[in-house]
């Protein structure tokens, strides 16, 4: 299909589309109401809920970690608290910029560039977040077990089997997730290069 043929097909489509009525006045009014939850406004909601959960977790650990006796587990506890405080900040940082965009003041090209840059930043922060999240999972488990009064020592299987398996899963999952984000990063970088050519 040549460009001119495409234009003819597009004109036919336009004629059909223009005959149709999609919205009535009430629907348009509903869509313009301030109460209407814009997609762009909804982005942050899960992140805010996640932040509250993380901070509650950090508060719980802050109260209980000083009660632990083993120095290594205490150290893990402190690291866990720090991660629970940092992870939501990284997550919120990655979506903050997007809410500032004024969709009417930028040209299409500028919007693509802003979108691409934000996406790259978002993907990089997500990579960091996932790596730190998985690390939290590994060091958080012994802390939680210790807080419940369960010791890791009586189970030799833990160090011989569960721990190596956990580390292997951690490394495998990280590799898979990071590969996914790297692919997305490359695609976005390619788009930006093409656009700027």
């Amino acid at each position: 299909m040549e460009l001119e043929e495409m234009k003819l097909a597009w004109n036919d489509l336009s004629k059909r589309v223009e005959k149709q009525e999609i919205l009535n006045q009430q629907m348009i009014e509903k869509m313009t109401k301030d109460q209407f939850q814009s997609n762009l406004k909804k982005i942050a909601l899960p992140e805010y809920i996640g932040t509250i959960i993380c901070y509650l977790g950090a508060a719980y650990l802050s109260v209980n970690v000083p009660k632990l006796e083993e120095p290594l587990i205490q150290f893990f506890g402190v690291i866990s608290i720090a991660l629970l405080l940092i992870l939501p900040i990284i997550s919120l940082q990655s979506i903050r910029g997007m809410r500032k965009i004024n969709l009417s003041s930028h040209s299409y090209l500028e919007t693509i560039q802003i979108f691409g840059q934000q996406k790259i930043r978002f993907l990089k922060l997500q990579k960091l977040n996932i790596s730190l999240g998985l690390f939290l999972l590994v060091i958080g488990v012994p802390v939680l077990l210790a807080l419940q009064g369960k010791s890791l020592n009586p189970t030799p299987l833990f160090w011989m089997l569960y721990f190596p398996l956990g580390v292997m899963f951690f490394l495998g999952f990280s590799y898979w997730v990071l590969k996914y984000y790297n692919r997305k990063l490359q695609a976005t970088e390619k788009l930006l290069t093409e656009v700027n050519e």
């Binding site: 299909m1 040549e2 460009l3 495409m6 234009k7 097909a9 597009w10 036919d12 489509l13 336009s14 059909r16 589309v17 223009e18 149709q20 009525e21 999609i22 919205l23 006045q25 629907m27 348009i28 009014e29 509903k30 869509m31 313009t32 209407f36 939850q37 814009s38 997609n39 762009l40 909804k42 982005i43 997007m98 965009i101 004024n102 969709l103 009417s104 930028h106 040209s107 299409y108 090209l109 500028e110 919007t111 693509i112 979108f115 996406k119 788009l191 093409e194 656009v195």
Partner: protein, 167 residues
């Protein structure tokens, strides 16, 4: 005429335009509906500040296309959709199979272009002049001409690839 009434008239007069943009930037019906109402909402948000400094169509295309870009990221987060039907999901009469195939092929070709090319080709197919495309997209008129030539070449090679693959 109050601002809401004026806005409603503008939207009613340009329903087709919004519909065509939503079909180019989404794959699924639900996404299409979400994007449709997002575009109407974003247009309303900036309608007050649009004081006819540019042409109405230039402003509409700009906001609608920009909204479509950001919708790509959010398409999995669905708001409560206001119930309405996009009746043109079947674009042609059932009897007109050749026409339907032609439109499907047209969409298939455009979907393979990158975001910038997609926007430029949409405006080109809408019959916009190079000057108008340059204003909406934000590049020089000569750049628009170059881009359109490149898109033509790209489409040719896409079609060739598809034909070779098909045979």
């Amino acid at each position: 005429m109050d601002i809401k009434e004026h806005f409603t008239k503008v939207i009613k007069a340009n329903e087709g335009l919004i519909y065509k943009i939503t079909t180019l930037y989404t794959d699924e019906k639900q996404d299409r509906k979400d994007l449709y109402q997002e575009i109407v909402y974003q247009l309303w948000k900036s309608f007050g500040s649009f004081q006819e400094q540019s042409k109405l169509s230039t402003w509409m295309y700009r906001v609608a296309l920009n909204t479509a870009i950001f919708h790509l990221k959010q398409s999995k987060k669905r708001p409560d959709t206001i119930p309405f039907e996009l009746e043109m999901d079947r674009l042609t009469d059932e009897s007109d199979k050749a026409e339907e195939d032609r439109i499907k092929l047209l969409y298939k070709q455009i979907q393979q272009l990158n975001l910038l090319e997609k926007g430029i080709i949409l405006l080109f197919l809408e019959g916009k002049s190079h000057e108008e495309i340059a204003e909406i997209v934000g590049m020089s008129i000569s750049n628009v001409g170059t881009k359109i030539s490149r898109i033509k070449e790209k489409l040719k090679s896409q079609i060739k690839k598809n034909t070779d693959y098909g045979t």
